[in-house]
């Protein structure tokens, strides 16, 4: 197995997963805006149209609502569409089909139908694209029963979780941070899956648990290395799936470390951090807490254009270092 592990970028890993899924199953096809000869706004589909043709790597008009609805209808009737939103922000144009149709169809029809659609959302800030192309809306969809919502943080996970999503009988929403697309990491060849609904402990530690999502996993790992020099030992839980959330892994980690810091890019209030905090506060881990729970999330503003302002909008490594240090040293 090791011999077959190569370094791939996050976007190459997605592309490989989609190619494998299409090779294995004729029902799988890709839909999205400019994913054919253009290769996708972030070149994730790349040259797949040359291998699979324009029927299976299918350009849609700029019609997010209609396109999402076509994907839902195709999924209900035997196909396995993977629908790419050009930017996750454009999910706002398709909320009707995602929230009212895809999520609820199986339930409303008493289990007589399933909707095995995968939707991919390039998300997050850091590209200078300003307020309408930089949002992190995963918690919006995480609020909807019937959907599964995942945020893979590594090339290995995004390939395995995308393959798990294609095999899943229910709608799966994948939020891909745009700054991760070029990040490289080890990716096994061939087909494998990474389970939806399971968090991963990325780093073991005893002083503090950081629960992080997506790109914040990497920032948290960097912060943990910096703090290791100060003798602070941090455990990092990569949440990976926000619905259904793996509360057991979070609770077990907090029982071990007695401190919790949540780090995520989306707007801080009413978000993932609140849910992770509540999961701990409502569990037996509450009695183990030695300090208040702290959340580091996005500012209560739209994402600004100016690069310094943009960086200031979302948690950065020094913010995580400072918050973690304060928590462990009892300043909170």
């Amino acid at each position: 197995m090791d011999a077959s592990v190569r370094e791939l970028s996050y976007s190459q890993a997605i592309q490989e997963a989609m190619a494998l899924a299409m090779e294995a199953d004729d029902r799988v096809f890709l839909m999205g805006e400019d994913i054919g000869v253009y290769g996708g706004a972030f070149q994730v589909t790349g040259d797949l149209v040359d291998r699979f043709g324009s029927e299976r790597v299918m350009d849609t008009p700029i019609s997010e609502l209609g396109g999402a609805g076509v994907a839902v209808g195709a999924a209900m009737t035997g196909m396995r569409p993977i629908f790419e939103f050009q930017f996750s922000d454009f999910a706002t144009l398709a909320m009707e089909q995602i929230v009212n149709q895809a999520a609820k169809m199986r339930f409303m029809l008493g289990g007589e139908v399933s909707v095995p659609v995968v939707m991919r959302f390039p998300a997050g800030s850091g590209t200078g694209a300003a307020a309408q192309h930089s949002q992190s809306l995963e918690a919006w969809l995480g609020h909807v029963p019937g959907l599964k919502v995942i945020q893979p943080a590594t090339p290995h996970d995004v390939k395995g979780m995308l393959l798990a999503a294609v095999a899943d009988p229910d709608p799966v929403m994948i939020f891909e941070h745009k700054l991760l697309y070029k990040m490289k990491g080890p990716v096994p060849e061939g087909h494998y899956t990474v389970p939806i609904g399971k968090a991963e402990v990325r780093r073991e530690g005893r002083d503090l648990t950081i629960v992080a999502t997506s790109i914040m996993v990497h920032k948290a790992l960097e912060a943990a290395e910096a703090l290791a020099a100060e003798g602070i030992d941090i455990e990092i839980v990569d949440l990976r799936t926000i619905r259904p959330m793996d509360k057991d892994t979070i609770i077990a980690s907090v029982k071990k470390t007695s401190r919790l810091l949540c780090v995520y890019e989306a707007v801080k209030t009413l978000g993932i951090g609140a849910e992770v905090s509540a999961a701990v506060a409502e569990s037996e881990a509450f009695d183990y807490l030695d300090a208040p729970i702290v959340r580091l999330g996005g500012a209560e503003t739209p994402i600004p254009y100016n690069p310094e302002l943009e960086k200031a909008t979302v948690p950065q490594v020094p913010d995580i270092v400072a918050a973690a240090r304060d928590l462990v040293r009892g300043k909170r």
């Binding site: 609805g69 209808g73 196909m79 409303m108 029809l109 008493g110 229910d170």
Partner: protein
């Protein structure tokens, strides 16, 4: 003899489409289904008044010829998406009124096991992909089903029913455009009953006829009198043939009228009693169809009465079945949210 046959052929060719296309038995069955739709809705309304059904419902009484005419050329494998005013489509596609009543009563024997109710009634096994609570929600879904049919080469066609209100939703325009560029086997059926809730099409819609919007998407736009079964069926046959031949979608505007209010909260303050009375007295689709059937000697008054009696019995049995059926357990609340749960 030759002259007599020629004369008979000529007479035959002068008959409206339905009487050339369908056998006597088929025409009688159409009448029976139209009665079944009407009596089903009357039975549902009555059960609602008695407190046996909660929530709300949107009745299509007065639109029966439209549902039946459109569904006539469809096979069991063909698919439809329907609307909040979808009871007629459901019955026309072949649903069992027992299980429809059971759904309205919220019972486990209902089509959606009591989870959907009137607004989500479906029977996927016979190609009804479901009514929909969102105006225009089913239109892109129908295009997706048509895409599946084309890709998997199943030969199926898909009909998307919607009302005049939906023609001003973005989903309508996006869906028609995609169906046209991809030449998909889908038929868009706008049942124009004159009002989106209380707002007349005159006040809501920039074009006089919704069918005119087909031109924007390079597909045929056909206007039919939705209260005349034969006219609707003829347009549907042509559209289904075109779709099956791989020539792409059609938009049919079926002009009709609903006798009842939009839903149970409607006070009917946006139209006159005279207007409603005129449609009921002079343009009722069942009455018009019966008159034709009698005129062409397909059925007599005794035959019609037999149909009415059989429908009455079927409705009564359906309501009894629903009443006697078990309610879901609250412990099963989470069923059907995710496949692994149930």
């Amino acid at each position: 003899m030759a002259t007599a046959k020629k004369k008979a052929d000529e007479e035959q060719s002068n008959l409206p489409f339905a009487y050339r296309q369908y056998s006597t038995a088929e025409l009688k069955e159409v009448l029976r289904k139209m009665y079944l739709i009407r009596r089903f809705e009357e039975g549902a309304e009555d059960s609602y008044m008695r407190g046996l059904i909660h929530g709300t419902m949107h009745l299509s009484i007065g639109q029966e010829a439209s549902a039946m005419g459109i569904c006539m050329p469809l096979t069991t494998d063909d698919q439809i998406t329907s609307t909040h005013r979808g009871h007629g489509h459901c019955i026309a596609k072949g649903a069992d009124v027992k299980r429809m009543f059971a759904e309205f009563f919220g019972k486990t024997t209902g089509y959606c096991k009591g989870r959907g109710g009137s607004m989500h009634i479906a029977d996927v096994s016979i190609g009804n992909l479901g009514a929909n609570g969102i105006v225009g929600g089913g239109i892109p879904i129908a295009v997706g089903a048509a895409l599946s049919a084309k890709r998997m080469k199943t030969g199926k066609v898909v009909v998307s029913f919607f009302g005049d209100g939906a023609n001003n939703e973005g989903a309508f325009h996006e869906a028609l455009n995609m169906a046209s560029i991809w030449k998909l086997p889908v038929i868009f059926v706008c049942e124009n009953n004159g009002y989106g809730m209380s707002t007349s099409t005159e006040r809501s819609t920039a074009v006089k006829n919704i069918a005119e919007r087909a031109a924007a998407y390079s597909m045929p736009g056909v206007i039919v009198n939705g209260n005349i079964f034969s006219e609707v069926a003829e347009a549907s046959h042509a559209a289904v043939e075109r779709a099956r031949a791989g020539e792409g979608p059609t938009l049919i505007e079926s002009k009709t009228y609903r006798y009842r209010g939009h839903s149970k909260s409607d006070r009917n303050r946006y139209r006159t009693k005279e207007e409603i009375e005129d449609w009921i007295s002079n343009r009722d689709p069942i009455m018009l169809f019966e008159n034709e059937l009698k005129e062409f000697g397909v059925i007599d008054e005794n035959g019609i009465e037999a149909i009415r009696a059989s429908v009455r019995a079927e409705i009564e049995a359906g309501i009894e079945f629903a009443k006697a059926s078990p309610s879901p357990q609250t412990s099963d609340l989470a069923n059907f949210v995710y496949t692994e749960q149930a």
